[in-house]
């Protein structure tokens, strides 16, 4: 299948989209996809690793909660270009240049959803569990956490989708993935390369979103039939 010549009103042989380009460069596309997925997963994993202790601290008191949430919001307000270029020299253009900022951006979603999820348990449910002789740890693990899981996974879903989009800016500081190809296409004035990888980024985000929705349903079977959240 070949799209009818693409829209070749610019340069001959440089259509906005071409099936031929995709088949001819399938190896590059696979490598870039793998890099993009790896960078996304590493960033969100680091984000989650930081979000858990931060949420635990935030639950200690009202003041700490406000401080932690405000801190995450302020981090999120820092423009990505500034954050990433600032780390480019510090980490000598290693992967951390992009993983740290993206992890920081995912915090605002993850911490908020962890806190909201853990707060969703009704006081009656806690009282009932206590009446049944549950210890505090057991209440947390058997009552609070299971009820919080859907909200936490929903946060994870949002974080993954927005991180996939944000990884693209890594192309500016010599990071791999679709971003590198998009910036390369921009520098070489190659429409085909730029649009192909742009479309791939959107497709990856959609696929990740769908997969995480399935995960969300699979780990919360009792929610089946209820409205999706």
């Amino acid at each position: 299948m070949r799209l009818p010549g693409g829209f070749t009103f610019h340069k001959q042989g440089d259509p906005w989209l071409s099936w031929h380009y995709i088949t001819a460069n399938s190896h590059d596309i696979l490598t870039a996809t793998q890099q993009h997925v790896t960078l996304t997963l590493e960033s969100v994993a680091l984000g989650l690793l930081l979000a858990i202790p931060l949420s635990a601290v935030a639950r200690r008191s009202h003041w700490l909660r406000t401080t932690v949430v405000n801190f995450c919001t302020a981090l999120y307000a820092v423009p990505s270009l500034a954050f990433i270029v600032a780390l480019a020299k510090v980490f000598n253009l290693s992967r951390l240049t992009i993983i740290i900022p993206l992890a920081a951006y995912s915090l605002v979603i993850l911490v908020r959803n962890i806190l909201t999820g853990l707060d969703e348990v009704s006081a009656e449910a806690i009282d009932a569990a206590r009446g049944m002789g549950f210890t505090n740890t057991r209440i947390f693990l058997r009552v609070r956490l299971p009820i919080a899981v859907p909200t936490i996974v929903a946060g994870l879903r949002l974080a993954v989708v927005s991180t996939i989009e944000l990884v693209v800016i890594g192309g500016y500081v010599a990071q791999g993935g679709y971003g590198a190809k998009i910036f390369q296409g921009f520098q070489n004035h190659s429409h085909t390369e730029l649009t192909t990888y742009l479309v791939l980024t959107v497709l990856l985000a959609l696929v990740a979103d769908a997969l995480l929705l399935l995960l969300q349903r699979a780990i919360t079977p009792w929610r089946r039939g209820l409205a999706a959240s």
Partner: protein, 244 residues
Amino acid sequence: MRIAIVTPEHVNNSTWHQFSTWFTTGSNWTWNGTNGQVGVLHLLWQHVWISLLSLAICCVIAIPLAVTLSRWHRGGAVVTSLANAGRSIPIVGVMLLLAVGPIGLGTEPAIIALVIFAIPPILTNTYTGIREVDAEVTQAAIGMGMSRGQVMRRVEVPLAIPLIATGVRLAAVQIWATATIAAIIGSGGLGQLITVGYATQAYGEVYGGVLVVAVTAVLLDTVLLRAQGAIRARYGAVAAGIAM
């Protein structure tokens, strides 16, 4: 253990030294700048101008669109899919795409991209705000003889103001942050300190730019959050009063 001997040469080449030199050079902060480089004041003005223009265009498109969609039974689906699309399309990619397209480099592709991506927050919040207006309130307004247009202008939109304000705040913060990235495609603005500095390995300028960009972004976020609180306090009370 070897002890590094810090010679004056090392000190002069350190990033910190470059940064402090850049920071304390007064002419960097003026309009005209130093050595043919545009000054911070000029870049700040460009940044404000691009952001305000984008935000204005965005409001003009998104608010009437939300009002129209709120009257249509499938409006909710349209709003949700636009919001999801905005979340999964990389804005950097779109900017670069517009720049290699017929429009070329410069401020125009930047403003187009900024407007497109700031529509979802305003659209979603305005739509929700209008849909959340109590049906009894609109019924009462209709009972008083208001036309549908009057109900929209005098009842539904005013009651939605707290949420519209939330949407405009989110859009403004996002536009300010993303306008930084637009420097890559030659739109000017504060991001230019970072892009030009990075391209010429002038790390003093890069870190100066990072500082200015980060501080203004966080400041804008804080100020707008306060402003939104004030609007909520004022219009939220009106809303509560009418709803009673």
